[in-house]
């Protein structure tokens, strides 16, 4: 369940457009559960999009990014069949990764 990423990568003219949806609660640490106990902060802090071996974008996130976060980016170049990967790490040391090929 944890760590999953669904990625689509498509050519748009000269650009490649990547749309990634990530499975993560992005818990802020400010909520309390039904019993009144604090729900610990649990959110992705760093995420990167890679074209083959080449990082095209790296991001740092706070807990204000929505749960099950979405990330869309465009980068120059890329050919159909190239690998696109997304990787992340969170504040609890968890990691996630996903891969697709450009269509």
């Amino acid at each position: 369940m944890a760590g999953r990423i669904k990625i689509r990568a498509q050519k748009k003219g000269e650009m490649t457009e990547v749309k990634a949806l990530m499975r993560h609660p992005m818990e802020t640490g400010m909520r309390k559960d039904q019993a009144g106990e604090s729900i610990p902060a649990h959110f992705i802090t760093d995420v990167a999009v890679l074209h083959g071996d080449q990082p095209v974008m790296q991001a740092h996130w706070g807990a204000a990014v929505s749960a099950n976060p979405f990330l869309g980016v465009r980068f120059q170049g890329g050919q159909a069949g190239d690998a696109v990967r997304v990787v992340w790490t969170d504040n609890q040391g968890g990691t996630g990764e996903g891969e697709t090929t450009i269509r």
Binding site: M1, R4, K19, P25, M26, R31, D33, I39, F70
Partner: protein
């Protein structure tokens, strides 16, 4: 998988075209986190659990043991083996007990996520099964006398006023083109609205970060009406689902939807 991506946009309620949220939905696109929950539900179906270590693969959802394609669209329905009308959730609890040996007092104790949870097994299974009925015509069985009686009971409850506000379901859901604040209210007595509404549950609730089921939605309605709590798997719950499903019959399943 591609079909799911294409059909998910249909999950947007038709009445959102009052315009207010068009720009919002447009910018949102069609990436619905429910797609993860679909996969999770499928995994639960094939997972060995309980004292017997069986999976749910032999579960009969009305179309024969293990047939999942199109099954959700025909609920609620009568089952001879239990001699009663069941919704998809009570049927799953039944299969967990009979096939996997899992105690129903445990499986039915907490069917729905609470704040801070990331989804329950039942929510995931219902999401996957709804996706297995994607694009299928809504066609709840009404051939058996108990099925028809369940519809009649649902209709009676729908118009029954109670609670400190003297609300019935009809108070909010009997007229067309009404809203509460900026939220459109479906007229559940009207086939078109009922089909849009019923066909888009279960749905990813953005404000909750969870996929919620039709059964959960009814529980929340009762809470919002300040009615007594709706018991999970109760006759009242199944009756109301039957009423909505029959009014929606002929429409198309678009679930899982994407809702605020």
């Amino acid at each position: 998988m591609i079909t799911r991506w294409c059909l998910l946009w249909l999950a947007f309620p038709a009445w959102a075209d009052e315009g207010v949220f068009d720009q919002y939905r447009d910018l949102m696109g069609d990436d619905n986190p429910a797609i993860f929950v679909i996969d999770e539900g499928e995994e639960f179906w094939y997972q060995s659990q309980g004292p017997s270590g069986a999976t749910l693969e032999a579960c009969d959802l009305g179309l024969g043991a293990g047939v999942t394609r199109g099954a959700y669209a025909q609920f609620p329905r009568y089952f001879a083996d239990t001699d009663r009308v069941m919704d998809i959730e009570t049927r799953l609890i039944h299969c967990m007990e009979t096939l996997q040996g899992r105690d129903r007092t445990v499986t039915a104790a907490k069917p729905y996520s609470l704040r801070g949870d990331f989804g329950t097994e039942l929510e995931a299974l219902v999401t996957w099964l709804a996706a297995e009925s994607e694009g299928v015509v809504i066609a709840p069985e009404q051939g058996h006398p108990k099925e028809r009686a369940m519809y009649a009971l649902g209709e009676e409850i729908f118009f029954y006023r109670a609670g400190p506000h003297d609300f019935s379901c009809a108070t909010c859901h009997e007229q067309s083109d009404k809203r509460i604040r900026l939220q459109q209210l479906p007229n559940l007595t009207d086939h078109h609205d009922a089909a849009d509404a019923y066909g888009s549950w279960p749905a990813y609730r953005m404000s909750q970060g969870l996929v919620r089921t039709m059964g959960w939605r009814l529980q929340d309605c009762f809470r919002q009406q300040r009615w007594p709590g709706l018991t999970f798997g109760s006759e009242v719950s199944i009756a109301l689902q039957t009423y909505m499903a029959v009014n929606a019959a002929g429409g198309i399943m678009t679930a899982p939807g994407l809702k605020r």
